[in-house]
Symmetry: C2
């Protein structure tokens, strides 16, 4: 019987693969770093000899209460021997000492979260040997003192300050501030003093035996898996706790042994643009940390061709080999020790959104990866970044030139915003909601009380706080562009103005801010959506995404359900929105809100006359005046969406939304009464009376949607006439129209049975009048929990469902959205009571369960039932994935989110693709 | 092969029973009337010979497009022969004519909804023969002209007016208004003139052939099953359409052939009191309709012993026999023709609530029926009636004596009410809600706009309208006592007063009204709940109900679920409510609302100080003042419910409910500002600011319940301490306490995980402080749809569920209750969009489906989960039945509804009892 294998040598990756069955398994067993080092070794890339202690060993160690599992240590010692042989050095041998690093490496990259100890193997004796070998005494004792302090803090748990105090004293003594100014003698002295610290803190000497060093370091790395830093990171990054970390014992190589040595980092492609060219930098006679620290100026990697042509050529070959091997852009670290090239790391390189898209598309064109793989490589957030509203062209540059930039701060939440400034949350909210202004909220700092104003604002600007301040956290949480800590600003809340660099900005003035760069400007800068057409790589990628989704057989589904992936439709109220939606790739309009036109200032008096009408006749007369406007909007929509379905939702909001606010009227009336003014008082009083009559305690759950249509059918009758007149007119022009009339807020099948037939009657009448025929559908929103629960019945009348997940979430949770976000929702998310804001990502267990039931029951009644979603969740990747799994036909989102949704839909299709 | 049997003779009930397999089947086949006539014949009760054409024949006739099924007519003719033989008369024979009636009779009684034709067989010839036999020419020709007009309208479809015009002309000619003033000659003339009407309207003569008459009448009765009247009635009474009606051809007997003939109706027990005594009336020499019409004064049935002793004795025997046979109080019709007694009908008699209870209990004691049967015999509405608040003792009589009755009207909705009058809905609602007044709304008539006022009122009084007016319908719908059409009242809406019989009543004055009798009184009459103890029969019946529910094995249920029936608990906020609940038979408190005390005027300033506190310390200080009051209330509750569980709900409403209304404050502040008053302005402004900050768009879905406890835990911490201190104190006194702490508005398991442990900590601390141990539970309301959907998770923390069906209904439907009832709910119920008001009876398909899922998922996690309901539905019989079927442990309702619920629970248990 063979012993459990805890340790894998640099040349044993195939055994690991045999044991785990897959490359993913190898990464799980050896960690990402260890697996890649072994893989490089396997394909003939020069890697310093090493061995890896498995994650299984780590888990066994932790489970046993910090005890190495049986056999592990012996296997490590065997591994060490193999490494000595390969490196032709000997651990602890003063004449030819082997130094090693002890590095953590989990399956997932957890940068900086766990511990590493370098230069293991140094002691008083080997140090002397190293000096002989390197002829660089300063370097050796610098390494030695670093080992002692690193080992002291990481392995022995001595506080950093204990060593820092000694170091600071030494620097003070030398009258210097930089470590680099210390002399070799200073460093030798520090080594001795650090040893004293260890003895004083722990009661024993710094371990001189390299074997002890290795054992203790290994224990420390294992233990760091359960350190607070690492646990917190895993929570945040959603990494399971049971992965464990591997330990890599790697031969140290040195780039600072002379001018034929060096070290560098490089990417196989430009991580910023995605350009196919080697991108990186290096330094001769230097260590890895010198490149990062920027003590000396680094050289561009191509320069290496001149200084170390042999090593450079070899490196070039290796980078090509690695990219070809991993089929992904690689981020590599290397060291050249005396003209000999060593690869110390390779991994898939981080990249900007732009680069992510370009590299994915290029690699497909180069035949490296499939289109499916390309789709998986780009994140929806990448796409979002590329299409985020931004300041157009060189707007910002010009603004800077003309001195309009008045403040800069921490770039806390990305995005560009333009608006009028207000200095408190209430005013900001009121101006945004009631006056329909674009608002930027400016505060010294924000508090939970301010959230309602922040949510109503286009952007947020504070003079205090950092990247983790309340304003920053909330803004990122809700996607509002935000700059914090613009400390040159002085805000005078009483005067309602701010002063910055001598400029005064008053409440109501326009400013523009770029949350991605932290720059604030005076006035309105041109804000625009980047054109998709100009981003040809993205266009290509999204077209591939569409191809994937359009393939039948993409989804396994019950008989009659869609087997293609999700389509992406858009929510658009105006023809111009529809045009943008189409340009962004929408395959239909999932939601047109028909009431928008009622809110326009010129129409409002007519709308109010309609609402306050005392007879049906008066009401119809006012509606007749509104009809041509609605019809003309619908004509524009049908024209823009030629050939695609257009879902038009009948009027939804309660009527009092179209009347002046009760509070304002009340204030006016009382004031007039007290002052004894009579002119116009009667009219105001009458209006106040009407508004009071219409007042509802909970308007969200009040007289609106289909309820309103049943009580007052004239409005929807006009709307259906307008829809079908528009559709008929466009049909005559040769446009292919596919109108779908959506009835909102249905909760009971009888509501549809009551209203739908008479609307269909109108549709038929119009078609007869116009002598035109076209297909159409009548369907409903599923946004009331009861509608979801009784969807089986409702589907006998409704030809399509569209989940209104905003309201469905409100009612399933019993959260009034505006109130909730301000009053407790932020607290809930902060305290982890809710894992996510359910208004951003569908709550799968609650709201999602209702949706799932609704689709299933609905399709049992009507197998051809068209199912979509038109709530804000329609543009959220996690929610899109959920919609794919429950069998939606499409998701509908704002035009700007369409590209994101197309990618997310394809990714969901790939993730859940039937196994072949 | 024998032909399908469509016709059953009077002596063929056993064949019908064999064919259908049950008495219920016989009633289905022959209809209620036909079955009872046949059954009477079978047990030897004299019934005029007859035969019944089955409901199957009716259905076949209707299905075939109004064609008799093959063989049916021939069987009718055979039946007729048998009837002739038995009656010793011959159909159409002028010397000894048989006359028959053709009567409809469905399984369910549908009084007056379908057609009947009497005196079939009369024609010019047989009329003459009848004159000879009866020596009563006037009677014969009166019967004949009635046959022609009845046949003309029912069978031939001639409008009644055609005959009425002729009749009216005749009466005018005679200068009389009553039919009875017409002479024999007049009637003979009418017969001729009616024949002319038939000929003129239809183009053919009135059919002289009795066989034709019978055939046509049978067709007409069949067809009347699908008449509008009948269909509408079936819809309303929930009777299936496919039952069909039978046709009974019954030998006519006549009670008006002389002074040894007569007719009468009787009940085997007093239908008003339930007393065991023959109760009824009769008339000699009269027809059935004369008894009802009240043309002559009827005699009490006992008198018949003197005038027709033989027939009376026979009748007495028959009544006893029938009651013994049917084991129920019978309502009978009989006719005596020349001393010969004929029973024409028997059926279970309608009775008052009081009689229903007494008869059921008496019959058990007499050994006639089982306790289970007694339970089934009494309706929950009966119990409700007996316990409805009513004017105590002889209060009303004294009020009448002292001239306080100022108006009478139509008794539109039963119940007694006392309140101050207001003349418009807004004021009525405001006075009721804000001023907490008892209000009676007085209007000339009501409109849908007034519903909010009606709902807020104790009672409604109108001067116009009848039993089906808006006021009457809505009042009955919502159970508000109501008198309509009190036309002696003159209401002056400008003066805000009413005048009636010389008395002036002003707005704000107290009145009392009895909706059950239609009487209105000045002032406050003593209103009280009838004592249950005094109603011994009801007590007996309800104890039987409890016995039934307490039996294990009453419900078939999954492992671990309750197998007894439902328990009935009560909602009680104060000790006195708990005492009443216990007196009414409650087995626990299902809901104590802990916030009531906060609303008391003397406490409110402390509560407001607590709410407006700027630090946790200030808040705790105010709460410390409130604790003793809560504790003392809880002590009273525990004492009253010694040995029974008491569920106490932690604070639920949003805090702004405890502050003054924004509107009132705004008005005060603006007025002070405009007038330039400064004293106290700042305080008002501050309060207004706080109220504004707390304002929520949809408070129903806002910061309340557990959400409030998470944001501001101090209040519930105080409440839990008060609960456990009270429980500990009572335990020391020897009371057995079973406190259950209920957390409201849970929507996510994490809410409970966040708050429950720290509350349990407090509970344990108090028990340790007081050195007392008792068992307790922590659980939650299920009132948020998401809680129902994720009940499986929630049950891992909650030890009990209580369905808050008010809120659950609000959120599942998305109806804000106050707004909805006023704005559209009444319309919805009127138009049949909702079959019932879902706030009164659980919506089984929507809300009910969620409840069912919650119980099932909850018990899967925690088999011992205690499940109840504490919404208003807990007192609604249909909802109670539903709660039984889904596996609730108990229902909890207002103390007044407890007796109703006890009966309903037992009825549900019997209805769904496992088959033995």
């Amino acid at each position: 019987m063979s012993e459990k294998k805890w340790v894998y040598l640099f040349n044993e990756v195939e055994e690991a693969e045999k044991y785990t069955g897959s490359w993913d398994g190898v990464r799980g067993l050896l960690g990402g770093k260890g697996a890649n080092l072994a893989e490089m070794t396997r394909i003939g890339v020069p890697v310093p000899p090493f061995f890896t202690v498995t994650t299984e060993a780590c888990n066994a160690f932790l489970a046993a209460g910090s005890k190495f599992p049986a056999g592990m240590w012996e296997q490590m010692l065997d591994g060490l021997k193999a490494v000595e042989t390969a490196a032709e050095k000997k651990f602890g041998d003063p004449t030819n000492p082997l130094l090693v690093s002890c590095r953590s490496g989990a399956k997932m990259s957890m940068p900086g979260m766990m511990d590493t100890v370098l230069n293991i193997g140094l002691n008083d004796e080997t140090a002397k040997g190293m000096v002989k070998l390197t002829e660089n005494e300063r370097f050796v004792y610098d390494s030695y003192r670093r080992l002692i302090s690193m080992f002291g803090s990481v392995v022995l748990g001595i506080k950093d300050e204990a060593f820092e105090k000694v170091l600071d004293a030494k620097k003070k003594e030398r009258g210097t501030k930089a470590d680099t100014d210390l002399t070799t003698e200073d460093l030798k002295d520090l080594v001795e003093k650090f040893k004293v610290v260890v003895k004083a803190e722990k009661g024993f000497d710094f371990p001189q035996d390299p074997i002890d060093q290795m054992r203790l370091a290994t224990e420390a790395v294992f233990s760091s898996w359960n350190g607070k830093r690492a646990v917190d990171y895993r929570r945040a990054a959603d990494i399971p706790d049971d992965l464990g970390t591997a330990v890599n014992i790697v031969t140290m190589v040195f780039g600072n042994t002379g001018w034929e040595s060096g070290t560098g980092v490089a990417f196989t492609r430009d991580p910023s643009t995605g350009e196919k060219m080697l991108y990186g930098e290096y330094l001769l006679n230097a260590q890895g940390e010198d490149v990062v620290a920027g003590i000396r100026n680094t050289e561009k990697i191509v320069k290496m061709g001149e200084t170390l042509p042999e090593a450079y050529e070899q490196f070039l070959d290796i980078t090509k080999k690695l990219e070809l091997h991993y089929k992904n852009m690689q981020d590599m670290e290397f060291t050249i020790e005396n003209r000999r090239l060593w690869m110390l790391q390779t991994r898939d390189g981080k990249r900007t959104a732009k680069a992510a898209v370009k590299i994915a598309v290029d690699m497909v064109n180069e035949g490296l990866i499939s289109k499916e793989e390309a789709i998986k490589r780009v994140s929806p957030a990448n796409v979002d970044t590329l299409l985020h509203p931004q300041f157009m062209g060189n707007t910002k540059d010009e603004a800077k030139k003309s001195g309009k930039m008045f403040a800069t701060g921490v770039n806390a939440s990305p995005g560009a915003a333009v608006g009028q400034i207000y200095f408190d949350a209430d005013t900001a909210e009121r101006m945004a909601k009631e006056e329909k202004q674009k608002v930027i909220m400016v505060r010294p700092f924000t508090k939970p009380d301010d959230v309602h104003g922040m949510l109503a604002a286009e952007g947020i600007l504070t003079s205090e706080g950092g990247a983790t301040s309340h304003a920053a956290v909330v803004a990122r949480q809700f996607g509002v562009p935000c700059i914090v800590g613009a400390s040159m600003m002085h805000i005078d809340l009483d005067k309602r103005e701010l002063e910055s660099e001598g400029v005064i900005v008053k409440e109501g003035d326009w400013i523009s801010l770029d949350g991605g760069t932290g720059e604030a400007f005076l006035g309105k800068l041109d804000l625009g959506a980047p054109s998709l057409e100009e981003q040809t790589d993205l266009m290509t990628l999204l077209n591939w995404a569409d191809e994937i989704c359009a393939k039948p057989g993409t989804r396994t589904a019950p008989e009659g359900w869609p087997t293609t992936g999700l389509q992406v439709w858009a929510n658009a109220d105006y023809p111009k929105d529809a045009q943008r939606a189409r340009a962004y790739g929408a395959k239909g309009i999932g939601l047109c809100r028909t009431e928008h036109m009622f809110f326009e200032q010129t129409r409002l008096p007519t709308v109010q006359r309609m609402i306050l009408a005392e007879t049906s006749e008066e009401r119809v007369k006012a509606l007749d005046e509104l009809l041509p406007f609605q019809r003309s909007d619908f004509e524009g929509l049908f024209e823009a969406m030629d050939g695609y379905p257009v879902i038009i939702r009948l009027i939804d909001p309660p009527l009092h939304e179209f009347l002046p606010s009760e509070e304002v009227l009340l204030e006016e009336v009382i004031t007039m009464r007290v002052k004894g003014e009579t002119k116009g008082l009667k009219e105001k009083e009458d209006m106040l009376e009407s508004v009071k009559t219409m007042h509802e305690s909970n308007p969200m759950m009040g007289l609106r949607g289909v309820r309103l249509s049943i009580v007052m059918p004239e409005i929807v009758e006009m709307q259906v006439r307008a829809i079908f007149e528009a559709a008929a007119n466009m049909t005559k022009k040769g446009i292919v129209v596919k109108p779908e009339v959506m009835i909102p807020l249905t909760g009971h099948i009888n509501e549809l049975l009551h209203i739908q037939p008479r609307l269909i009657e109108i549709a038929k009448t119009v078609m007869a009048e116009k002598k035109v025929e076209f297909t159409y559908k009548f369907g409903t929103m599923i946004e009331i929990p009861r509608a979801a629960v009784t969807a089986g019945e409702i589907a006998s009348v409704a030809e399509f469902f569209s989940f209104g997940t905003n309201d469905l979430t409100q009612m399933t949770f019993g959260y009034s959205r505006d109130d909730a976000e301000r009053n407790f929702l932020v607290t809930y998310v902060e305290k982890g009571i809710l894992p996510k804001n359910p208004f951003q990502t569908i709550d799968v267990d609650g709201v999602g369960r209702l949706m799932k039931v609704a689709v299933k029951d609905g399709r049992e009644t009507r197998p051809s039932l068209e199912v979509g979603i038109c709530g804000e969740h329609g543009g959220d990747p996690a929610s899109i994935e959920f919609c794919h799994t429950i069998g939606n036909n499409y998701v509908s989102c704002s035009p700007f989110r369409v590209p994101v949704a197309r990618l997310a839909a394809a990714q969901a299709a790939l993730k859940y693709a039937p196994k072949k």
